[in-house]
């Protein structure tokens, strides 16, 4: 008697969101099954992988990242190089220097940097802010204007600044609004409701439901993503059917397993390998729990995750 598996296909599906323009445009979402459950039904659009660079260029990057950008002197060089690595579907530019508690760069300076990066590449763009909600309110609104016509994801509108960021990105300049909440299904839904009430089209929203490094409270990320997908697919909850995009590199490259040098803890071995594995495992877990896109930075991590996606979809 052969094994008969019941299909786990759902009647509802994740909304599709297209980023970018022309033949380089990519589409997130569309599936009506759980992550990688291609045995239930074909996965409409394979998850996508992005590469992150910041306004600091190579200044704050570890040596194992720098070596891949050898010879790059400007953000233009770096962006072009980043877009050329194997497996890169989109580019994420993070304006880290906007943090008022950090470098606190001027908006003009950051927007000029963003324009430089945007002009250098024709692949889809994600524009990420400084993580400071108040600063991002102004910064991301200006950013949405600066990349008008690129159909970029503006990452992200939060509960504190969704009115300004959401209105600029989603209404005034026709971008995709990234909706960021912190590992709670109710908060994720609430923000989507608020954004749609503001007038943002539901098919112009991508969620960042929260992110963490493997081992660092990751259970909350896993359960939030799994519950969001369950609500979207099995209960047909339209306010949770937006695809999920998850920044990974900005989390994993800050933990001690990735930053500690081999000189400091010799038994841990090569730092680059550790950093890549932390990034790769976190991204793989994100994708298995429901992310439709992940943002990484090490070229080896990107190639690995891209290969994994091809194998599984």
């Amino acid at each position: 008697m052969p094994f008969t598996a019941k299909s786990g296909k759902f009647n509802a599906s994740i909304k599709t969101v297209t980023i970018g323009t022309g033949d380089k445009a990519i589409t997130l979402g569309g599936e009506n099954v759980l992550p990688f459950y291609s045995f239930d039904a074909p996965i409409e659009n394979a998850p996508k992988v992005g590469i992150e660079i910041t306004d600091f260029g190579l200044e704050n990057e570890p040596d194992c990242i720098k070596k891949y950008y050898e010879g790059c002197t400007t953000l233009t060089d770096m962006a072009k190089k980043a877009a050329s690595f194997e497996g890169v579907d989109f580019l994420s530019f993070r304006m880290e220097g906007g943090d008022p508690n950090g470098a606190n760069k001027s908006t003009e300076e950051l927007i000029a940097a963003l324009k430089e990066v945007a002009d250098a590449v024709d692949i889809p763009l994600v524009v990420a802010g400084s993580k400071n909600a108040e600063r991002d309110s102004e910064l991301l609104s200006k950013a949405a204007e600066a990349v008008q016509g690129r159909n970029a994801i503006i990452l992200a509108a939060k509960e504190e600044n969704y009115k300004t960021v959401g209105a600029a990105a989603g209404l005034a300049y026709g971008q995709i609004v990234g909706a960021e909440s912190s590992v709670d299904i109710n908060l994720a839904k609430q923000l989507n409701v608020l954004l749609t009430q503001l007038g943002v089209n539901a098919s112009s929203i991508a969620m960042n439901v929260g992110t963490a490094t493997a081992g660092y409270g990751y259970e909350y990320v896993a359960s939030t993503m799994q519950r969001v997908k369950a609500a979207a697919l099995s209960q047909n909850d339209a306010q949770l059917q937006m695809p999920i995009i998850t920044p990974v590199a900005s989390e994993t490259w800050g933990v001690k397993e990735s930053v500690t040098s081999q000189e400091d803890i010799p038994e841990w071995g090569d730092q680059e390998r550790r950093g890549v594995d932390m990034e790769v495992q976190t991204a793989a877990a994100d994708l298995a729990c429901g992310s439709n896109a992940v943002i990484l930075k090490h070229p080896t991590s990107i190639a690995t995750i891209s290969k994994m996606i091809k194998e599984l979809v």
Binding site: A5, N101, G102, T213, Q226, E257, R274, L287, M308
Partner: protein
Amino acid sequence: MALKGLDIFKLSPKKNCKECGSPTCMAFSMKVAQGAVDVNACPYFSEEAKAQLSEATAPPMKTVKIGTGSEEFALGGETVMERHEKTFVSKTRYAVTLCNCMDDATIDAKLADIPKIEYERIGERMYVEMIYVNYKADGQTDYVELVKKAAALGRTMILGCDDAETAKAALAVCKDSKPVLNGATSKNYEAMNAVAKEAGVVLGVCGADMNEIYDTIKALEGLGNKDLIVDTTAATIKETFANTVQLRRAAIKDGDRTCGYPSIVNLAKLAKGDMHLQSALAAVFTVQYGSIVVMEELTYAEALPLFGLRQNIFTDPQKPMRVDPGVYSINGGDENSICLTTVDFALTYFLVSGELERSGVPCNLIISDAGGLSVLTAWAAGKLSASTIEKFWKEQDIEGKIKSRKLVIPGKVAVLKGEIEAKLPGWEIIIAPTEAAQLVKFLKDM
């Protein structure tokens, strides 16, 4: 599949004799259905009815035990598909693979690497728990000798061997440590079953596809063997993932007991030579339904994220993870270094200690017992207050251990400053920023 009270009532003697302690057979049946009373409390339930009942109330997925003593591991026994529904009970275990097709130098190097992974993370010992010893008929070294060598490390073993005669010889040298014999197929299952039964070990079922695996499990169950594990590894990564998920889903959601066994996923076969891909897949199969994950190597690069991920996934979704209260020295902080305090919620601890490490400033992080709650929740619940801090200071003899009299408290409980100053005379109380991310700048500017 859980039986309803009414179904149990139909099987009951219907005497209403009250000898079981319940007023009626109906009430008794209801309690049995909820799991509140054991059916044996009724002296008149027929053996036949009991057998029918135990069959019906058996868990959807069998718990299989392998290894002995401190190296005994329970696999399977899960009742849900996702961790937020109910705690996953049996952690994914990781094995490093050896093969008699490797040369002696490679084998020795691998065996020497295994004990190198040894550390503690939030109270849990992290190490390579299992060794998978693969058999190839045309291998260059003697399989039994290799098994003997590997067994000397004292880890739980999995013998990947589909030749019954060789398996028998290998089990003769290691069966007391309760290894798994992995390699029963539709062709050899009778001989393999005899070998596994004689040695008293768990048998792993393999097959080209789910149909072969399913039929082989049925056949082995027919021979009375339910001490099984299923090797879901197929020719491709995609099929392997499909097998692993479908096996678990058929057991838990559809109640198909033939699928209710733990799984083995062999990444060394699926992504040979690509350690980063094995790393990624190990994370996927930790999140989704791998009971044993076999890898070519397990160095700190793979282990640090993987063991951390596993620790997160296999926790009670209703109970936060906690770190042990105490004084944690960071960046070589000593008795004269500045002190910071926060709660014992693991997530808070990791965020704060991570930022402190990044600052490079030597300091002492004092974690008090706050019931595993976050800063604001602990404060609201009265588990983080001037009194709890004072009590903790006395219990731990902080003033005896540390000479510094500077204490940084979480920005979210700035209101406690005055009270703490009153309870800890002589201490300068400093208010930290409200977010951990701002700690680096805060400490550097001090």
